[in-house]
């Protein structure tokens, strides 16, 4: 029986592409934990989803013209953020509709581009990721972005938190609010771009939102939420990779599905906030 277990665990590891996938997931868990925690606390899921879809034309352009993927996507992300900001400032449009309108438009433009260039066979790779085919350059990008996220967290942790929760207070303290907001948005875009090869641009939002939301069901303390969500995405990533390898299924989707199941488990069985644990606990007098 132990032989089976060790074979289950070790067999995939002999393949270099599995090693690379695990390394990519491990590096990404750090940056998604840092940025994702703020995304969940500030309820920015829709914006994250929009950014991950809207950089699609950038990814296609980079693939078509051989440009640098990270740089091209970043330029597109900045343009899209500006457009969303500009249209949501018009009170007739509203925040949610601005995000939805701009991102579907950008995404559709990317599809148009891809259809004109005959790159359609690579479409599913863009949409669902290619975790089992990440290259060394993808891993380097993920590592650089993770270092940047760590650096930003180390330097401006308190400032970002204050701007997120109490803008007026931050302004009164003389913090560069606009700069910090833009910096956070830029970091979010970088993490979204770095996560693309692993899970693709439809499911990137899961990597950023599901682990911190799960962690929030387990603890109230911000630092613990961040730490736990890193561990959760690492665990979910590794389990997803193993399941995908053994069952021969789509790897990125398998990681996302594993993370969703973690969330449901925490929702029902979390010691403090779980639905069932609360029901079962005797009411205190």
């Amino acid at each position: 029986m132990w032989d089976d277990v060790t074979r289950f665990l070790l067999e995939p590891l002999s393949a270099p592409y599995v090693q690379r996938a695990l390394l990519e997931i491990a590096i990404l868990s750090v940056s998604v934990a840092i940025v994702g925690t703020y995304v969940v606390l500030r309820s920015l899921s829709f914006l994250t989803l929009a950014l991950s879809h809207a950089i699609f034309p950038g990814v296609v352009l980079a693939a078509l013209l051989g440009w640098n993927m990270l740089l091209t996507s970043m330029v597109v992300a900045v343009g899209i953020s500006l457009l969303i900001g500009l249209s949501s400032r018009n009170s007739r449009v509203g925040h949610a509709s601005a995000i939805g309108t701009i991102y579907t438009g950008a995404f559709a433009a990317g599809i148009m581009l891809i259809s004109s260039a005959g790159l359609f066979r690579r479409l599913s790779e863009f949409l669902f990721g290619r975790l089992f085919a990440v290259g060394d350059d993808d891993i380097v990008i993920a590592a650089v972005v993770t270092l940047l996220a760590l650096l930003a967290y180390g330097l401006a942790r308190k400032e970002i938190l204050l701007v997120s929760f109490d803008r007026a207070m931050a302004q009164a303290q003389g913090l560069p609010v606009a700069f910090l907001e833009l910096g956070f948005l830029a970091l979010l875009s970088l993490v979204v771009v770095a996560a693309l090869p692993a899970v693709g641009n439809i499911q990137t939002v899961a990597l950023l939102v599901t682990p911190p939301a799960t962690a929030r069901l387990l603890t109230d303390r911000l630092r613990v939420v961040m730490l736990l969500s890193g561990l959760i995405s690492l665990l979910g990533g590794v389990m997803g990779v193993y399941l995908a390898w053994h069952l021969n299924l789509v790897s990125g989707a398998m990681v996302v599905l594993t993370l969703t199941i973690f969330f449901l488990l925490a929702y029902f069985f979390s010691p403090r906030y779980g639905l069932l644990t609360r029901r079962l606990r005797p009411a205190r007098a």
Partner: protein, 289 residues
């Protein structure tokens, strides 16, 4: 001389696409206006992605994809509204989690369904639709379901409008909040499902919000809003069909790109609410007060 204008519409498959899009455009006005007024684009987006596993299951067991999609939409909406009642889970996070989770499940099941030879269609067809592959059956479905949704929304227009603008007033007048929400989500889910064969489940959101958001920059009156949204949706559809016919571009994506350009134009140049006119009003002293 105008042959190039009529040429795309001489074949049955483009005519079918046009008929289908005309009906979806009406729904885009009737249902989409409330989506924009309430600012529920994210939930609608989540809903349209989350129906993927339902379609996949229907393909796997050989059932009706329409029913599969609808059941999946109901299950995911219930999960989101149920879990977001927990104080540690925001509606924003719950939407993000279940929409991606359901979508991931859908991707895995679709891969199984497609490798299973008995099924037709591929995952890319489901995601982007096949505008020029719309069948007579799809058109009949849209006509029946779309007609029903339109009838329902026209009958309940006052209640829907009041609950969108002033939810507490609406409750005080005795209209229950949750069943009007239910009607709205039902309308959205049915629209998404009937529009699916033509535009696919990623871009259907654009049909539901972009024309209505464009119209909202131009008028304040609700009936004009509904009519203008439908007109914009249909205009974008026609231009999109030409683009995709003559330049061999993806159909649904061309329509949505045109629709977004119309939105940006209206954002910049709308006489009353556009960026340019506001800028000018601020500059000219004659308009003060």
């Amino acid at each position: 001389m105008f042959d190039w204008l009529s040429e795309p519409f001489t074949t049955a498959f483009t005519q079918n696409a046009l008929k289908e899009l005309a009906m979806v455009s009406v729904l885009s006005g009737v249902v989409g206006v409330y989506v924009v007024l309430r600012g529920i684009a994210f939930i609608v987006d989540g809903l349209s992605h989350a129906i993927l596993p339902g379609i996949a299951v229907a393909l796997l067991v050989g059932g009706n994809t329409f029913v599969g999609a609808f059941v999946a939409a109901l299950v995911v909406t219930a999960l989101v509204s149920f879990t977001s009642r927990h104080e540690q889970v925001s509606e924003d996070s719950a939407t993000g989690i279940f929409f991606t989770g359901a979508f991931a499940l859908g991707v895995i099941l679709t891969t199984l369904a497609v490798s299973n030879k008995s099924s037709r269609g591929t995952s890319v067809d489901i995601l982007f639709g096949q505008l020029f592959g719309v069948t007579e059956q799809d058109i009949t479905n849209t006509l029946l379901v779309g007609g029903l949704v339109t009838l329902l929304f026209v009958t309940l227009r006052k209640e829907l409008l009041l609950s969108s603008f002033d939810p507490s007033m609406s409750r005080a007048m005795g209209y229950s909040g949750w069943w009007l929400d239910l009607v709205l989500y039902l309308g959205v889910a049915l629209t998404v499902v009937v529009a699916l064969p033509a535009v696919g489940n990623i871009l259907v959101l654009a049909f539901l919000i972009t024309p209505a958001a464009t119209a909202r920059l131009l008028t304040d009156r609700i009936y004009r809003l509904i009519i203008l949204s439908a007109v914009f949706a249909f205009l974008a559809s026609i231009i999109g069909i030409y683009l995709s016919y003559y330049m061999r571009l993806a159909g649904g994506a061309s329509i949505v790109t045109v629709s977004s350009l119309l939105f940006l134009l209206s954002l910049a140049f709308s006489p009353r609410y556009g960026w340019l006119s506001r800028f000018r009003r601020k500059e000219s002293p004659a308009n003060v007060g």
